[in-house]
């Protein structure tokens, strides 16, 4: 998309639920740190240079890195240039992180906490005020859930923070585990939804692997299988009572795929029925929690060579169009512009997927309207 191209109506009105802003260097964040941490991290005179506040991805795209060829600014890493981001299509851009999530998985958890604090302050200072279309996600370090909750309470009140980026699986447990519950309590108090992203379990410092059956060999496999931890996280959130404790809490699965969803929901209900005693606090079938409280981005869709096949499979879920949120994934190499995505959707889905569902999902400033999640059933009789 170039400067001279005129954006379509779809492009102009879309809400991008997954576009990534990044800091290029630790020194971008150090001004926002407390003096002692700043000193520790800057390491002036140290041959190693400033400490990189990030763990590493297990998998990287060997063809062209993970980033789009034309997303590289003159200086800094893709996603770090505010002007380039401002040119991206959409009515609202929810600035999450891709590379930045690596700070949440950094092994030294106190430093990880310092990093996310600085990242949030930097985002507020350098991004959120600078373009009326920019909104932010609170970055948290999950390895210490109480600290993550404190961070949510500290910056989550900023009106342009519209959600929480959950980041790494810091404890190596499914996200519904009670150890993580302080995070959801804080999120719920501030009415902030949560974004779970592919890659939460794909960092080198994680003790949990990102796909089942051992480690994959290729990045391509990671693209296909990387959503697996999120599937477990979703069932965990549902069965460990997170949505019973916080019925209004909403969770978005970003980049995790969707083609597995029909079978996933049917199988989930079957096992809920069989193992109901292991979650007696659940008030309704497991799939209904998913339909009510969880959402999925278009970024990550496993589009077949005939895209309508995926739509056909998805239509087996009543009102699936209410669950899907457009996200570009920019500047990742497989980002998708709004027009391309909208063209593959049934016409009746477009407004919801490109705009309406995100409108209802994030906690927009007082001027933007939001609705609470509504209860729905998996069977079509509920239409």
């Amino acid at each position: 998309m170039t400067d001279s191209a005129r954006p379509s109506d779809v492009a102009r009105s879309a809400i991008d639920s997954g576009i990534f802003h990044e800091w290029s260097s630790t020194l971008t964040l150090t001004p926002y740190m407390e003096p002692a941490w700043r000193e520790l991290v800057t390491r002036k005179g140290d041959r190693g240079g400033p400490l990189r506040l990030a763990t590493n991805w297990l998998y990287r795209n060997p063809m062209h890195g993970n980033k789009a060829a034309d997303s590289y600014p003159a200086q800094g890493i893709p996603g770090s240039d505010r002007e380039m981001l401002a040119k991206r299509p959409g009515d609202r851009l929810v600035l999450g992180y891709d590379e930045g999530l690596l700070a949440t998985g950094f092994a030294y958890h106190y430093l990880s906490r310092a990093a996310v604090r600085a990242a949030n302050d930097w985002t507020i200072d350098q991004w959120l005020g600078h373009d009326p279309r920019f909104y932010g996600l609170v970055l948290v370090s999950t390895g210490m859930p109480e600290e993550a909750a404190a961070e949510i309470r500290r910056v989550g009140t900023h009106e342009r923070m519209v959600g929480i980026a959950l980041g790494a699986n810091g404890l190596g447990l499914p996200f519904g585990h009670p150890a993580y519950h302080p995070i959801y309590k804080a999120a719920s108090e501030l009415k902030l939804p949560i974004v779970i992203q592919v890659g939460s379990d794909a960092m080198t410092d994680m003790i949990v692997p990102p796909m089942a059956g051992g480690l994959a060999t290729t990045y391509a496999e990671y693209k296909v299988l990387g959503g697996q931890p999120s599937m477990t996280h979703a069932v965990s959130l549902i069965t460990e009572g997170v949505f019973d404790n916080h019925p209004d809490l909403r969770v978005l699965m970003l980049g995790c795929g969707v083609a597995w969803l029909p079978g996933f929901l049917w199988r989930l209900d079957w096992w809920w029925k069989t193992n109901k005693l292991e979650a007696p606090w659940m008030q309704m079938p497991a799939s209904e929690y998913f339909l009510r409280n969880m959402r999925i981005t278009t970024y990550g869709f496993e589009w077949p060579r005939e895209p309508e096949r995926l739509i056909r499979a998805l239509k087996t879920i009543p009102k699936i169009e209410d669950l899907l949120l457009y996200a570009s994934g920019w500047p990742n190499a497989d980002f998708e512009d709004p027009d391309g995505v909208a063209a593959r959707l049934p016409e009746t889905w477009r407004d919801k997927v490109m705009h309406g569902n995100a409108q209802a999902f994030f906690r927009w400033p007082a001027t933007a309207s939001t609705g609470g999640p509504t209860k729905r059933k998996l069977s079509s009789e509920s239409r």
Binding site: P174, G213, T218, T232, V235, W270, W271
Partner: protein, 389 residues
């Protein structure tokens, strides 16, 4: 949806021992003493009770709350022995009750090789194969079985396949449990495939507990309840499929076929479409990807129907199958008797379109095991016409 009265091939029945010594008696003396030392002189313990060794490696506790030991109550023999250990019950409840042509005995669950002591695991696999050949196959000509192998010792596994592979009543090699924490396509397992291909055996990959340690049946962290654990059982199969393609198993062994059992089926489109979407990358990363992944899947991968995903509106699951082109050609019927996730043949027949019946209940499995000649001899027609569909 219609009923199905044609012949059935069931890819997954779990036969069991009446007591562990049934299998131990086939062990060499030193290993028999190893197996029975702890129990010597003590009263027999119920399955699952504390023991030092046993026919099943130590398992996760997730799933232990399931009632009736996760078995059909009707499959518990009156004499108090274990479900799946009684041939007469199996015959009455399954083989004779429905129009069975052949059924595959997969042991319960055949993960003998997953013991912490892998040498014991190797011996147990051999003993279990002998037990099954001597104590089960002669009971009924409809029963066929697998060659159980220790996946953590691929060269030993290959030896066992070559030892028993000429027996036509053992048409497949069972892969139950991932011995290395690596996906099954990894080269570490290739000696198994070389032997299987050489002996003309197919592969059955059945869900099983992996070696105690990091839980790799599903990821995201250890499941703390059976809903998380069991609902995510498909995850392993999704990776195993990609790994067979990426590591060129079907390029190296073009005659090899694998059927995935008890992983569910609805994940197939996600993997097929996802992999095809990464075609360019795959070819860049792996020298062995020469065709579209979906083509490899159609030619070499089969998936057992059990546990068939139950959509609230039965049409839903059929729609998913229709959405993925040719997926009905990949499905092979299985019951998983006597486990509680058992799929009754009549129930499945009612769920499936009639035009798929003979494929899914018979033809696909017949092709998979190379039984076309036998089918022709039995029914006097080309296998694809059997069942009258």
């Amino acid at each position: 949806m219609a009923s199905y009265t044609g012949p059935i091939i069931d890819l997954d029945i779990h036969n069991k021992w009446k007591q562990e010594s049934d299998v131990y008696q086939y062990l060499p003396k030193q290993w028999r003493e190893y197996a029975e030392a702890w129990a010597a002189g003590k009263p027999p313990t119920a399955e699952g009770a504390v023991r030092s060794v046993g026919l099943r490696p130590p398992n996760l506790t997730v799933g232990s709350l399931l009632p009736n030991a996760a078995r059909l109550v009707s499959s518990f023999p009156a004499d108090g022995s274990l479900p799946g250990s009684d041939y007469e019950l199996l015959r009455d409840q399954i083989l004779d009750k429905h129009n069975y042509w052949r059924a595959i005995l997969n042991h319960d669950l055949g993960e003998y090789g997953q013991h912490m002591n892998q040498y014991f695991g190797v011996e147990l696999c051999r003993a279990a194969n002998e037990w099954c050949m001597e104590r089960w196959l002669p009971l009924d000509e409809r029963l066929y079985a697998v060659i159980v192998v220790p996946t953590s010792m691929p060269l030993e596994a290959a030896k066992e396949i070559r030892r028993l592979g000429s027996n036509p009543r053992l048409p497949a090699v069972l892969l139950a449990g991932n011995g290395f924490g690596k996906p099954f396509g990894d080269p570490v397992y290739h000696p198994i495939y070389e032997a299987a291909a050489e002996m003309g055996k197919s592969l059955i990959c059945h869900v099983a507990t992996d070696r105690p340690g990091p839980q790799i049946t599903e990821v995201g962290g250890l499941a703390s309840n059976g809903i998380v654990y069991s609902s995510q059982i498909s995850q392993g199969a999704m990776h195993y499929v990609t790994s067979y393609i990426v590591h060129g198993v079907f390029e190296k062994y073009p005659t090899l076929k694998v059927v995935f059992e008890e992983f569910g089926t609805a994940w197939i489109p996600a993997v097929m479409w996802g992999l095809d979407r990464q075609y360019e990358l795959l070819r860049h990363e792996s020298p062995w990807v020469k065709r579209w992944p979906s083509e490899y899947m159609h030619d070499h991968i089969r998936v057992a129907t059990q546990p068939f995903e139950e959509s609230p509106d039965p049409e839903g699951m059929i729609e998913v199958i229709r959405a993925a082109e040719g997926m009905e050609d990949m499905l092979c019927f299985s019951t998983d008797y006597p486990h509680l996730t058992f799929d009754d043949p009549n129930y499945i027949a009612r769920l499936l379109p009639a035009e798929w019946h003979s494929k899914i209940f018979f033809d696909n499995a017949c092709d998979f095991f190379g039984w076309q000649k036998d089918a022709k001899a039995a029914f006097g027609v080309k296998s694809s016409a059997v069942g009258g569909a």
